[in-house]
């Protein structure tokens, strides 16, 4: 394979992924906008409610003027474009429930969501890689069977139920509440090394809850890939020449098997982010999950729209990063189909 062809194909692959990421963001934004538009009533109804609760008297004419001002009589597509422009500029509108800009309501919670998702993805990798290799190399051993069984359980138990069960057992038998991401003394404390340390002490629980099913899926993928690879003649040939077993396995078959393994990261991430929303509600984590639930129930539309937009954005960026890792792992990425 020629070098130049490589560079070209990698570039075209990355451009294709970038376009797809952009397309995803457009779809998410359309959905978020639809969600904002769906329920009866519009922004001015909510805004007038806020003004009136502060003692203002709003006349019909003033309401009409506000509607004109906010462009609520424009066609939907114009409204959408206006909203999208604001969002791109970082202005997500006003939270009708909290009466402050949406970005202020979300605040740190977005970063906490990123932290939880990141911790889960890391955990999935750290667990799935060695276990997958072990299960393939020692196929049908007791350990292999044990991991397969745990893997099936991990796949089958919905993560919010896992969180619930975990919470019950830790409360019942350890006397500890596993909820939250910080100990009480660090809840409102400014960021410091101790607070970060405290976060690490808490974040592993949601990471395990969220990572279990992803780990189980990846173990099975890694195991299957590596098993296919181990049967190839070059492995036998290398063995015949006296290479040490683990040296051989880690140097060649694992590297090849890693490729499909890495490409699943992009598929695991939306799944983990998705699960983190509901698990956060159960474990009362300070992420955007509980906020989104509240916003949806209270019909705080700009807040829920913004959260959905941000979650989509975060997933798209994460997926793109995983694409970069994939290219780094294997520059022979195929261009023809996205398999």
């Amino acid at each position: 394979m020629q070098r130049r062809g490589d560079v070209f194909s990698v570039l075209s692959y990355l451009i294709r992924r970038l376009l797809l990421a952009a397309g995803t963001l457009v779809v998410v934004s359309v959905i978020a906008f639809t969600i904002i538009q769906l329920p009866p009533g519009d922004y001015v109804d909510g805004y007038v409610g806020i003004l009136e609760s502060m003692g203002d008297v709003i006349t019909e004419e003033r309401e009409e003027a506000l509607r004109l001002q906010y462009g609520l009589y424009d066609p939907l597509i114009v409204q959408y474009l206006g909203w999208a422009r604001d969002v791109l500029a970082g202005d997500f509108g006003l939270s009708l429930e909290y009466r402050i800009p949406v970005t202020e309501v979300i605040g740190d919670r977005m970063w906490m969501t990123v932290a939880v998702a990141l911790a889960s993805v890391l955990l999935v990798w750290l667990m799935a890689l060695p276990i997958g290799i072990y299960s393939a190399v020692r196929q049908y051993s007791v350990g292999d069977y044990a991991f397969t069984f745990i893997g099936f359980l991990g796949l089958a138990i919905p993560n919010f139920l896992l969180a619930l069960v975990l919470m019950y057992f830790s409360f019942r038998y350890l006397g500890a509440n596993v909820g939250g991401l910080f100990s009480n003394e660090y809840l409102d404390a400014p960021w410091s090394l101790e607070k970060f340390w405290d976060l690490l002490g808490h974040i592993w629980i949601p990471a395990i809850v969220l990572g279990t099913s992803g780990t189980a899926a990846l173990i099975r993928i890694m195991r299957a890939n590596l098993l296919d690879e181990l049967r190839k003649p070059y492995v036998v040939a290398a063995k015949a020449r006296g290479m040490s077993e683990w040296g051989l396995i880690l140097k060649y078959p694992v590297r090849v098997a890693l490729n499909p393994f890495a490409s699943t990261i992009g598929y695991i991430l939306p799944y983990i982010v998705s699960g983190s929303i509901i698990v956060s509600v159960v474990l009362s984590l300070p992420t955007v999950g509980p906020l989104l639930l509240r916003a949806l129930i209270a019909q705080d539309l700009y807040l829920s729209g913004a959260i959905i937009m941000l979650i989509g954005y975060m997933t798209v960026v994460g997926t793109f990063i995983s694409d970069l890792i994939l290219v780094w792992l294997d520059p022979r990425i195929r261009v023809a189909d996205g398999q």
């Binding site: 797809l20 397309g23 995803t24 779809v27 998410v28 959905i31 969600i35 769906l38 329920p39 099936f152 359980l153 796949l155 089958a156 138990i157 919905p158 919010f160 139920l161 619930l164 069960v165 919470m167 019950y168 409360f171 019942r172 509440n177 909820g179 992009g266 598929y267 939306p270 799944y271 982010v273 998705s274 699960g275 929303i277 509901i278 509600v281 159960v282 989104l292 639930l293 949806l296 129930i297 019909q299 829920s304 959260i307 959905i308 979650i311 989509g312 997933t315 798209v316 997926t319 996205g338």
Partner: protein, 381 residues
């Protein structure tokens, strides 16, 4: 049928040795069944699922109390213990529960009252219902002797409103198990249509559909489901909400099925028997429906089986958050809503029982789907 001319694979040992003739004339469906039979776990899962569906169909017959009738007096009663023997031998009975106050914590507790003894009876009369929605009756599989008006059998305790958890669980099975089927049927229609179009025509249409699938798959679904179900009008009836939820779940649930169908279409398009049919002058619809679809129905069945548990989990999750089905309706998720915080979970662990059938059902569907997928291609390997 074209399949007969295919060379026989070496490993259908169960049948190949004994009856080569049978294999040669067997239809793909028979071959699939023979392969599937060898998956013990999948067979066991199929049995478990059949039992669950039977339980759902017979829910009012198996239940001891109406799912919505409750009494504040019996709020949060722990499960009753069945005493199988007494002095005279095998004689299953339960004791009535008396409410009392814990002298230390002042919490309400229930204790067995040895003075009020109720015999267990098979085919006991109870609340009126229609068996299979047709035959009016009041006979239930089991109940308490004489049907004492003030006492019920609470096998799994009661919830906050004093409703029988066991009976509610049975009625919840009806909704939770059927929502998976209805949802997957909808996804199937979308998936087969779009996947088929994508795989058969290829070119620009294929690219557009494939990119759409990739985009939909890269969006976290739960937040979107939450937002869409939260936007459903509050005054809709239970039935309307039910169907709205299945539609919402299918909007994002069809992608995997479409992927499978497209993959099969692409693989089959190159097969000799399709070319042969084309050369014989068969029309496109005939080739698709008569020759291609039958050879991948088993794949579709397998993929749909694997999609059902996702639907069930999704509905459970949404209802658990209070965004899905609303209270007069009973599903596992609606029941689990009561077990949302750690205090309830710690003091009334029986409210977590609905998590168990969810896990069993999901596990069973996964095993069954895996078995079906392995069996789906009787000519492979």
């Amino acid at each position: 049928m074209s399949s007969v001319s295919e060379p026989l694979p070496p490993d259908i040992p169960a049948v190949a040795a004994a009856a080569d003739d049978r294999v040669v004339v067997a239809t793909p469906l028979q071959l699939t069944w023979w392969r599937f039979r060898k998956h013990k776990l999948a067979i066991a899962s199929a049995v478990v699922l059949i039992l669950f569906y039977l339980g759902a169909a017979l829910a009012p017959f198996l239940a001891v109390a109406e799912p919505t009738s409750g009494e504040a007096q019996r709020s949060l009663m722990p499960p009753m213990t069945i005493h199988w023997f007494d002095v005279s031998g095998f004689n299953p009975h339960v004791y009535g529960m008396k409410g009392a106050r814990d002298p230390k914590t002042f919490k309400r507790v229930f204790v067995e009252d040895p003075d009020t003894r109720y015999e267990l009876k098979l085919f006991a009369p109870g609340f009126d219902y229609k068996l299979f929605w047709l035959i009016p009756t009041n006979i239930h599989l089991f109940g308490l002797e004489g049907e004492p008006a003030d006492e019920h059998l609470f096998l799994l305790g009661t919830d906050v409103q004093g409703r029988d958890v066991f009976s509610r669980l049975l009625f919840a099975t009806q909704i939770s198990m059927s929502i998976g089927l209805v949802g997957v049927t909808l996804s199937l229609v979308l998936g087969v249509a779009l996947g088929g179009i994508s795989g058969y025509f290829g070119g620009l249409i294929d690219t557009v559909i494939q990119r759409t699938i990739e985009i939909l798959r890269s969006i976290p679904t739960i937040p979107l489901w939450m937002a869409l179900t939260a936007a459903l009008p509050r005054d809709w009836s239970v039935l309307q909400i039910y169907f709205a939820i299945t539609i919402i779940l299918s909007i994002f649930g069809w992608t995997e099925l479409a992927r499978v169908v497209r993959g099969r279409f692409l693989a089959l398009r190159e097969e000799d028997f399709v070319t042969a049919a084309l050369l014989s002058g068969a029309s496109r619809p005939r080739i698709i429906l008569r020759h291609m679809v039958p050879s991948f129905t088993s794949h579709i069945i397998a993929a749909s089986t694997l999609a059902i548990p996702e639907m069930i989990i999704a509905e459970t999750a949404l209802s658990f958050l209070g965004l899905g089905l609303q209270p007069p309706a009973v599903s596992y998720g609606v029941m689990l809503q009561a077990a949302q915080n750690v205090q309830t979970v710690a003091t009334t662990p029986w409210l977590m029982v609905p998590a168990l059938p969810v896990i069993v059902i999901v596990l069973a569907f996964n095993f069954l789907g895996d078995g079906l997928r392995d069996a789906a291609d009787p000519y492979s390997r």
